[in-house]
Amino acid sequence: MTDNKGIGFFSERYGLTERDIDRLLAAALEKGGDFADLYFEYRISNSISLEEQMIKSVTKSRSQGVGVRVIIGDKTGYAYTDLIAFDSIVAAARTAAHIARNGGLTTAAGVSVSPSSHDLYPVEIPVSAEDLDRKIELVMESDRAARAYDRRIREVQSTMADEIKHVMIASSDGKLVGDVQPLARLGVMCIADDDGNLQIGRSGGGGRIGIDFFEGQLKPSECGIEAACQAIGQLDAIDAPAGKMEVVLGPGWPGILLHEAVGHGLEADFNRKGTSAFSGLIGERVASELCTVVDDGTIPNRRGSLNIDDEGEATTCTVLIENGVLRAYLNDNLNSRLMKSPRTGNGRRQSYKFLPLPRMTNTFMLSGSDSSEDIIRSVKRGLYAVQFGGGQVDITSGEFAFSASEAFLIEDGKITVPVKGATLRGNGPESLKNVTAVGNDLQLDKGVGVCGKDGQNVPVGVGLPTIKISGMTVGGTKL
């Protein structure tokens, strides 16, 4: 079982027994509190960076530590140590316990190993354990393919980043679970230079996979070619239009729309506090009835998937919006207890140095019935956006923005010319009501997403079929 593997790692390496863990949880609760947990983490992260056709840097980081959390009501105390040893964890537990200085008496149930519900990434040899030369060859392959695509590709940067993370979570309700989480990502960036006209293109992918992924499902040469093709295509881009118009989003990574427009606004912490534009709207219509949006942490080998979240809860598939009606928020332990709503396995953290928060996993819209050709054909004048950079949202006003990096004009039902990068903006609770067509071609992104919240970054996935939205602001310069 995956979880036993995770637990075994810590007990063997650091000699901690279940009895030790019980004593540590008791120390965390010695001043009272409703709940306490320990999050053990051991992580090895590697990177390889290529540019100017040279492997310029390789890195390896080893980190380990334990975070101790004590919750009393809606208050949380937290402390961590980077020394996995009984005495230093006790010290951290006593620091975390300060939050409950006036608390009553709570005792921890003795922990015992809980069964695992998923085994989503049964990778025999993680990318992090592969030979450095083999990984370097993959990075170089992406560079060669990009340069061979067009001689106007002047520079290629390619990075392989991988990690293996062992975690173990013990909580005062008796739970003891573990996991071993592999993760790898290849990213390629190309600069096209046509006599001083400079354009960039990006591509990449990965997941919780072994190295064979890059030799079959996603070849580095494909990433190189895609990034090069994008950069070269942008050389002919005209100024982006300004104003409201129909926007067709291509399948896959444009799902970042959902992440910004609704995903963050549905995280339970904002809704418990009543600061989200979606607060109090469960059961209400927040999208066109064509839209069903889910957050699914259980898809095998995906970048955003997890066997257990960072509070030890099994991940789930949560229907957020069903045929346009808001059904659920994304929950962690604290917020589900305070809101008396079910846990969804979305308590995540960047590392042992951080408190868990409700976060997305893989967020996507289910396929509808239209073909992408019909959707494009139905647009008289609009924008077809297929690649995006980052996005951002103000969850209180609902205002969000995301940046198209590859987009084309649609004129009389046909894709015509490429346009320069432009920000698309909308308002969370409004924008999905304006979805007027949903394609039958759902795609998940290739596995490069990073989501930031409160200074914490976690890997996520997004997905979308081709969709049409009316009345989205295109932030170009051409009036």
Binding site: S61, Y80, G274, T473, V474, T477
Partner: protein
Amino acid sequence: MNPLFGKQFAVDLAREAVIRGASAAEALLRHRVEFSVSVRLGEVETLKESTDQAFGLRVLLDGKQASVSGSDFSIEAVESLITEVIDMARATSADDSAGLPDPSEMATSFADLDIYDPEIAELPTEQKINLALRAEQAAREVSPKIVNFDGGGFDSRVGTMVLANSQGFVGEYRGSSCTIATVPVASDGDRMQRDYWFDSRRKLRDMDSPEKIGAEAARRTLRKLGASAVGNQNVPVIFEPNVASELLEDIFQAVSGESVFRKASFLVGQLGERVASRCLNIVDDGTRPALLGSRPFDSEGLPTRRTVVINEGVLESYLLNTYTARKLGLRSTGNASRGLVGAPGVGAGNLILMPGSHSPEQIISSVKSGLYVTELIGFGVNVVNGDYSRSASGTWIENGELTFPVQGVTIAGNLKEMLNAIEMVGNDIEFRGSITAPTVLIGRMTISA
């Protein structure tokens, strides 16, 4: 070798790497004590305390480079990483420009820049909580329309950095910082708006009072209530100081040696050329006492300094570390910045858009019809070619006066043109971060709604 945090361990780490085969090595040690309290609606929400330390080691093998980091200071863990990093370096490509700086450039004396405040380390927890609560309370008292808070708190950090290399450099400094912030939510019964305000300084006594921070946060949030969009048009745009600081960050990316040597900046090849309006002056100064971006030496051991980046619109200097300087045939400006692993990058010291002579009121009154921008979201800035498009909130200006709040629009242009279209620069500069700008008026941008 005794892996105890301090100069001797850093020196030994670099030396040990050379003994085991590296041609040069650089060790960095970092120790941090952090405290953070978040408050909401008069109560403590989270309380977090931590102490951590870690080391990083970068080795060179005749132009081949690799680096490792760890937080396990046991002799076995340290020695194993030294062996691994040398093996890793063998697998990389030899790069003539990679390597430690020339010893003649390294800092030999260290100025006291007054960047450590013992008061921060000694401040009792109760008082820290109280500072955070006072800021929130001050915001609540401004108006009954302040109905909620999305967060706020007090954060502090006290840290020590040690850097040593195999060419004989060794240096150490201690720094501190603290931040008070509050994030009010206002409602007019119809829609909610949120904004925030903060102060962040090296020293506790330099901080604005929590009352001032809270009142400003409330003012900023309340003025967004009732916001609406405006029509598509080309108009003058004013960036208030914290938004102008974001523009300055974009300019930093374009003058950073990392973008320039890759020719991935719209300012490539323009040293000595006019790239902006005459009223634009930008200076990077890592030596100003008690500021957040000040430190005695950079991440390669070079002394920090004052560098004029743009003088009256003319590009005078890029910001460089040793590697990017070598690639460009220039000298490092002492702007190396590194984390525990990886080759050093380029970081600003205190990057300052130098104040002009106009008050913000004078600047606003000069605009007949335009947008006063108070917030930008999205990442639509491309420093390779200057394309610029972000979502904006702010206040509409009509006949020189601030009128109604605006939201739901984007502003777009190109950085090359925007820099040349800067018509006025304000005299309102306040140092609450390491990137600092006053109010700026840009003659023309495209608003889309």
